[in-house]
Amino acid sequence: MGKTVISVEHLSKRYDLGVIGTGTISRDLSRWWARMRGNPDPYLKIGQVDYGNRNGDSIWALKDINFKVKQGETLGIIGANGAGKSTLLKILSRVTGPTSGLVKIKGRVGSLLEVGTGFHAELTGRENIYLNGAILGMRRVEVDRKFDEIVDFSGVEKFIDTPVKRYSSGMYVRLAFAVAAHLNTEILIIDEVLAVGDAAFQKKCLGKMGDVANEGRTVLFVSHNMSAIEDFCQRVILLRQGQISSQGNSSEVIENYLNVTNRNLHERHWDHPDDAPGNQNVRLMYVGIENLTGESQLNLRVDKPLRLRFRILSKIESNKFHFNFQLYTANHVCVFNTASIPQTFPRGVVEATCDIPANLLNDNIYSVSLMIHCKGVEGLHLPDALIFEMEDAGRSDWGWYGKWIGVMRPKLNWNVAFMNEE
């Protein structure tokens, strides 16, 4: 095996949520002054609950990432949206800096986070090849040497002296990819640029990527296309909420990832209270999702109500507690937070149900983050207690079947009336 060419050590990146800074120069100055004297930030909100990787006004997009890449290795990076893949690539390609930690790199790095960066509509194809090549870090002589190859690969010879604003979108993308594909650095960082062009060109792109991987260059590759990852990468890193969840042989990690993300969690039992989530006051026994009308086959459609059922074991006398859950989308956007009224129960089994009405959720993957608070403190917290996908339905009135955007799709009262003739 070759020597290490990329070494990532304790890499972390924090993003501040919401308003950037405090919004005014004077407050920023007083915040800075407080920090200089070692005092706490006077504008930090207190008492915010820590949800996963979210902390107060900031989010850790990456937290303590460590890995090494050897020369000639093709490393895949996978993970759900918001897992930190893009942030990692941005730091490695120096678009943004880390909050803490180090990255050491040996060799020239070329990064393709987008094809056609810096293309100027008024310039001709020829001028754009030189400009884009230089932006990606190529010297003029390098572009000179590869010019014919690039033009040939893109298949736009006839229009090479036409401004790119006259190109079709397919031609534009092909030219852009052709420049990127001929970037000749020792280390290449690629983010999903494969999904361009028509099917024939995509095949050509994939072939080119395969060549790059076989040339013995070091490649870091981020994609949602698992079959491409599996074909090109010997090793894969799976990111989850900003941390490395697993790494190793590509087919194993991919299987692991697909199991975590694609398996709906509709029902979970805990047979032994001691192994179940909870503490000395309360233990979880069962969580499940069901149709309200009691169909034998679970049928989660946006136009049908559904019921969440939670069963717990209350282990002490006169235990006062309440159930609470947040519903998140797959992108970790909180749709809502809901809680039952605190009540006191004797020792024993307690069951709670919560109904989500029809025509409220969108067709999306949702996850339920369950909490039970005993006597005012958190007795149990289970993120991703349930994961389910709502199916699209009830669109025939509109006759339009594109993606219905939004985290919710509530059916609201519309009133459209004819007022009078013109």
């Binding site: 490695l92 120096r94 943004t96 880390p98 990255v103």
Partner: protein, 286 residues
């Protein structure tokens, strides 16, 4: 410790949260010189595509401005011009001021107007402002040639103008203007990543500054008690020296130019420091 130091030298690049403010990586900018020239070319080519007159606009613009000034300030307001032909006086001021103002205005937008490129690919961020300076340099050269042409014309027609030995200081004057414009521009561009208000401030701030600078009037016409304003303005000595060099009127002195130079150096260094700090993570806030 010594051991890790030796090991670190094996790496070509170390990405870490903080870097020393003096570490400007100018060598890297030099390595990207092809990109600088391509940006210059892009700016120049794209500016006048699909215009009928093309680069002629570079000449028309200062001509029209100077004509307007001649009519309004020379003929209507009757401002003094140190005994020089009105048109030449205004043209010299406009050409010099435009170079400075364009450098300042364009570099002050470095981060905001290039956010989409900066967000996708790394190259030394200084490449952008440096290429702006060079693009503006081309404009200045053309406009300066225009000025020389009119100078020759007026000279032949017998106007009382003469080129002095100070003309040799022209490169120095250009460096001062470029340095001052770049320094202020990158300070503003670094701050606008957080505080957008500054963009609006720059737009009218620069026009106000022009009136505080002897572009449309000579320093000698300023009443004694307001002279200090002209004196603390670092652009004043540059414009005055330019006029003295090519028209032979006004005042040029090394003391004032040294003040401009010191001011420029300070702004330039502070600008680079701030720019260097901001360039790493500005993409998170812009």
């Amino acid at each position: 410790m010594a051991n890790t130091k030796i090991k670190d030298q094996e790496w070509d690049l170390i990405i870490k949260p903080e870097s020393a403010w003096w570490d400007l990586r100018l060598r890297e900018v030099w390595r990207y010189r092809d990109l600088v020239m391509l940006f210059v070319r892009r700016d120049f080519v794209s500016l006048y595509k699909q215009t009928i007159l093309g680069p002629l606009w570079l000449i028309i613009q200062p001509l029209m401005t100077s004509l307007t000034f001649t009519v309004i300030f020379g003929n209507i307001a009757n401002l003094p011009t140190d005994g020089l032909p009105d048109f030449l006086f205004y043209l010299s001021g406009t050409v010099v001021w435009n170079y400075f103002a364009d450098c300042l205005k364009k570099t002050s937008e470095t981060f905001i107007s290039n956010a989409n490129i900066f967000g996708k690919v790394y190259f030394p961020r200084l490449v952008m402002p440096v290429s702006t300076l060079i693009s503006n340099m081309i404009t200045f050269t053309i406009q300066f040639a225009l000025f020389l042409a009119f100078l020759a014309y007026f000279k032949v027609s017998g106007a009382d103008v003469h080129v002095t030995i100070w003309a040799l200081a022209l490169p120095l004057l250009i460096v001062l203007m470029a340095g001052l414009g770049l320094g202020l521009g990158i300070i503003i561009s670094s701050l606008t990543t957080k505080y957008r208000d500054l963009r609006y401030l720059v737009t009218f701030g620069v026009s106000l500054w022009m009136y505080a600078t002897p572009v449309i009037y000579p320093v000698s016409s300023i009443p004694e008690k307001w002279q200090w304003i002209a004196r603390i303005n670092p652009v004043t000595p540059i414009i005055e020296a330019f006029r003295f060099a090519f028209l032979g009127a006004g005042s040029a002195n090394w003391g004032m130019l040294a003040y401009s130079g010191g001011f420029t150096a300070l702004v330039f260094v502070v600008g680079l420091m701030i720019f260097n700090r901001v360039e790493k993570t500005f993409i998170d806030t812009v």
